[in-house]
Each structure stands twice: as structure tokens, then as C-alpha cells.
């Protein structure tokens, strides 16, 4: 059996969970047709019903007041017992911030492998392997778990398509499983999530965006990109390191920890194309990448690419736009 651990906020499933269901179904098929089950920590909201309605396999909800607000300690305690008693061959989750927070501890407590950020499944029924990026996406590794099952696997966001879930018309069963968690054993005390002060710029409405990355070298060189933004009537945006360094405000950061945008035109200048950046912009209609490294992963999502020095190419584009 393959066990999916669902992720939800106050009972509302996230899309990454559906992507993980797709990955689980593909893995199940590769292993010769194993069943897929789903565990939902915390029994609030419609998450369990929604999963059951899709008919993908038995759903188990883990019930204890300590699971209402997420903490890594409570999740690890609840899931150690459940995983041990259900004996799955694989336990799969999306590679979200929450999974990063507790799954390594869960796998370590059970002394089992955890393979993270997986983009594809390969290998045979007896020896499946998992593809994951290494060296900032410059290389892809094929990885094999060692030792006795279960093996934990987290899947990269967007690597599998949520709309490809194989649903069945027969509703799956939902079982509530009471787990006992000693409140006193939970060491983290979480407060309510919040957003920093309201953003002054809403890049999600921009028709054109010029985004700069570390290839811009220094704050003093930003006008190179700004002149292009001006010539295009575009908003300026950036990769995370540019905002970390304080060269542009945080609210102009694109990516998993910043804004998600989908403009008509997205121009990436000196951005390598890390997955955390790509998830924020790959829905753009037309993507142009300018990068001096022909192997930069940004070209993976670009419609048009120019390999070269942005300090030569950008002024040439500005000059071209200002012609006519």
C-alpha cells in the first residue's frame, strides 16, 4: 500500500496534495498495482470527504485536539504510530514548507529513508528509483532507497499535474482513528499565521514584468534593468537574493516565498531558474530569458532565450524598442 499524507489548512486541502495523489497513483502502478490510502491529520473541514468522494482509496483521519493547529511534535507523534500500524511500502507527501518541517523527524524516528523534492519516478517494480534535482538544478540524480520499507518521498510542487487524478465513481470509506498525544510532549507553541503589512504593489495584475536576478551583480547596476522596464511599460521584480540583499523591496520578490504572477510577458535577466523562483512565474504567457549560462534551468521554461551578457544585450533591446 502507498500512504499519502494529506496537507490542509483548517480542513481545506491544498492543490499540492492532489499532485501527490497523482504521483502516488503512478508509483502504485509501477509497483504492480498497489492500493493507495490517504491519512488526514486533524479531522476538521471537508478535506477527508473531498478525498473520499474522489474514490482514490481508503481515507483515515487522525483525531486529537492537539492536531488542530500544526506543530511538528504533534504530527510526528501521531504519524509514527499510524505509519507503523498501517505498514505502507511508501509514504508520500508534497514538498511543502510543512513537510520540510516534520517529515525528516518522522522518518528519522522510524529510521527510514526520506527522499525529498522528487520530480519523477523511474526504475522497476522491485527497485523503483526517484529523480530529484541536485546542485541547484544543474544536475538530476536518480536515487534508490535502502533498507526495509516504508520509504518516505516528498514530491516537488508542480512536478505532477493535479488534474490527472484517476478518480473512481465509488466513494471511498473514511475511518476516524483516535490517536493519543500527550499535550505536555508538544514543545512548540504556534501563534496564528499572518502576512506582513499590506503590499503596496500588486504584481499579479501587471501585464509585463522585467525580473532581475543575481546576474545584475550590484545595486548600482539596477538602472540597466529599470531602463528596459521603462521602455516596455513593465513592472520591475526580482529573485529572492536581490530582495534578501535589500536592493529591491521584498514585495517585488517572485516565487514560492514571494508573489505568484502570470503576466503576458516575463523577462528574466540573470536569473538561474531555481524551482522556488519558477513556481512563481511559469504561468506567464511569454517568457524571455537572458542568461550567460546556456545550461541555466531558466531556459527550461523560456519561450525565447538569449545566451549572453545582460549588460550588452539589455541596452541593445532598449535601443531597439526606442527606434521607430
Amino acid at each position: 500500500m502507498i500512504l499519502v499524507i494529506a496537507e490542509h489548512r483548517q480542513g481545506e486541502l491544498n492543490r499540492a496534495t492532489w499532485e501527490t495523489v497523482v504521483a502516488a497513483q503512478l508509483l502504485a502502478e509501477r509497483l504492480g498495482g498497489l492500493p493507495v490510502n490517504v491519512a488526514v491529520p486533524g479531522a476538521t473541514g471537508s478535506a477527508a470527504q473531498e478525498l473520499a468522494a474522489a474514490g482514490i482509496g481508503d481515507v483515515v483521519t487522525l483525531v486529537d485536539p492537539a492536531l488542530e493547529a500544526y506543530t511538528p511534535d504533534a504530527y510526528v507523534m501521531a504519524l509514527t504510530g499510524v505509519v507503523a500500524s498501517m505498514s505502507p511500502r511508501f509514504v508520500v507527501l508534497p514538498h511543502t514548507y510543512q513537510a520540510r518541517d516534520f517529515v525528516p523527524a518522522l522518518a528519522a524516528r522510524l529510521n527510514k529513508p526520506l527522499i525529498t523534492d522528487v520530480t519523477a519516478i523511474a526504475g522497476t517494480a522491485d527497485a523503483p528509483t526517484f529523480l530529484r534535482p541536485m546542485f541547484q538544478g544543474k544536475l538530476a540524480a536518480q536515487v534508490r532507497p535502502m533498507g526495509e520499507p516504508p520509504c518516505f518521498v516528498t514530491f516537488q510542487l508542480g512536478a505532477f499535474r493535479a488534474d490527472q487524478v484517476k478518480k473512481s465513481s465509488t466513494q471511498s470509506s473514511v475511518t476516524n482513528l483516535a490517536v493519543t498525544i500527550a499535550r505536555s510532549a508538544i514543545r512548540q507553541v504556534p501563534e496564528v499565521p499572518f502576512q506582513e503589512a499590506q503590499r503596496a504593489v500588486d504584481l499579479s495584475q501587471a501585464a509585463r514584468i522585467v525580473a532581475v536576478g543575481r546576474g545584475i551583480k550590484s545595486k548600482e547596476q539596477l538602472p540597466v534593468a529599470e531602463s528596459l522596464a521603462k521602455a516596455l511599460g513593465a513592472e520591475i521584480a526580482a529573485s529572492r537574493p536581490i530582495c534578501d540583499s535589500g536592493w529591491l523591496p521584498m514585495e517585488r520578490q517572485i516565487g514560492s516565498s514571494g508573489q505568484t504572477v502570470a503576466p503576458k510577458l516575463y523577462l528574466a535577466l540573470g536569473i538561474s531558474g531555481a524551482i522556488q523562483h519558477l513556481v512563481g512565474m511559469k504561468g506567464s504567457r511569454t517568457i524571455v530569458a537572458i542568461n550567460k549560462d546556456a545550461d541555466a534551468p531558466i531556459f527550461e521554461v523560456a519561450d525565447y532565450g538569449i545566451v549572453g551578457d545582460l549588460f550588452e544585450i539589455v541596452p541593445a533591446i532598449v535601443a531597439e524598442l526606442e527606434k521607430k
Binding site: 523534492d117 532507497p145 505568484t260
Partner: protein, 253 residues
Amino acid sequence: MKIAVCIKQVPTREWQPRLRDDKTWIREQDVSYEMNEPDAYALEEALRLREKHGGEVVVCSAAPARVQQILREALARGADRALHVEDDALAAADACVTAGALAAAMAEEKFDLVLTGLQSDDQGHAQTGVILAERLGIPHSTIIMEVQVEDGRLRVKRELEGGWFQWIAMPLPALLTIQSGINQLRYATLKGIMAAKKKEIRTVPLAAGLQRTQQIVALAMPSRAKQTQMIGGAASEAAKELVRRLREEARVL
């Protein structure tokens, strides 16, 4: 406060990958190395906490001898001493082995606070810190953007997706994985570099009996899914062609 910072040595950003003949690891003789970026932020945060609350900052790494280059760099930036678990096998070790190696060497030091980066720029497991907390038997929190210490307790700001955050409180000792951008980095001064020469780097052997839990069977350049239209030629010609295509093909101008 006695603070540990785990730092990893990773290939520089400019490094162009070349593989070893068996294609399961990189050709290390070609590589120049630097400090993993989030680890540099973790070190800076530790130095700031020491300035505020007093105590000691110890940098820890599990790696071949070559890591002493960045341990010295960390000492030059202000760390007090270093702990080096040395073994050639640690170069390509998985997160379980690395965390186990660090835990074995660090346990007796009884640190009040352990900081790691949230993820390494080479293997990128995003696991080592959390496993280390589990092995040391201390609570943890991940992807941290602010650290406050009050009355022997921690209050930390955890980054969530899409611009959300959350404060978490927990007792010390504890482990935090630090996100890049938590602070502004300082660089080593000449004085710091001179002082570092006299600071201690204690080397200990790799603990026996650590089992790997995963194995790299092949490394390769990632396959390209999308057919990007590459535009070549001199800058002015490429610019002209790009603008033409954006106007006529993509119709976005």
C-alpha cells in the same frame, strides 16, 4: 548562550558540473568550494545572538579535510572555535549519515541553541537540521526569519509560503533551520583573519555504524522538456530579432 552553527562546504555558484567516470558523483578535483549560503546567514545570526546575550559560537562540519578552508573563514568572521568530523566518505553522505555524524560529535557539548541552514546548495535534502534535532532529542523549527531569546525561551518567526509568517515559541535547548535573508551578512576583517589563525579546530573521527538510507545510482544533466527558441548573433542583432518576435509572433508588445 552556547551556540552551534552547522556549515557545509558546497561548489561555488559559477561551477560547471563535471561527473566522475562512474556517473554517481561529481569530479571533485575540478571544484572550488564556498560556504553554503543559508549557513552563512545562520552563522551571522549566531554572532548577533552572542553579541546580545554573550556566550560562545562553535561552527561544526562533517566533511573531508578540505572543509577547513571554510571553517577558517567562519572563525575569521567571528566564530570562537570549530568542530570538524573528518572523513572522506562524508563528501557524498546522505542526510541521515551526516546528521548522525554531527549528533555523535555534538551531543556532549550540550549546546543551548543549534543553527543550520534550511537546505544545502549541493544535495539539497532539506533534512539534515531536522534529523539532527531528532537525534539530539531537542525541539526544532524550520525556515526561520527572526530569532528572539527571552528568559531562556525562544520565540522565532517561521516563513510560510506566499508571503505568510508565523511566530513559534519553544524551550531551549532547540534547533532552528535558518532561511537566507534573515539578516545582512558581515564579512571577515583583516583582524578577524589574523585572529582566526590562533583559534581551535578540533577534529574528531566519524562515529561507527551509521547506515546510509539512500543511494545515488546515476547523476546526469537534467532533460529539457520545453523547446526554447534560442536567438543568437551579436547583441544588437539578437535584440532586434527578439523585439521582432515579441511583436509579430508572441504579440506581447
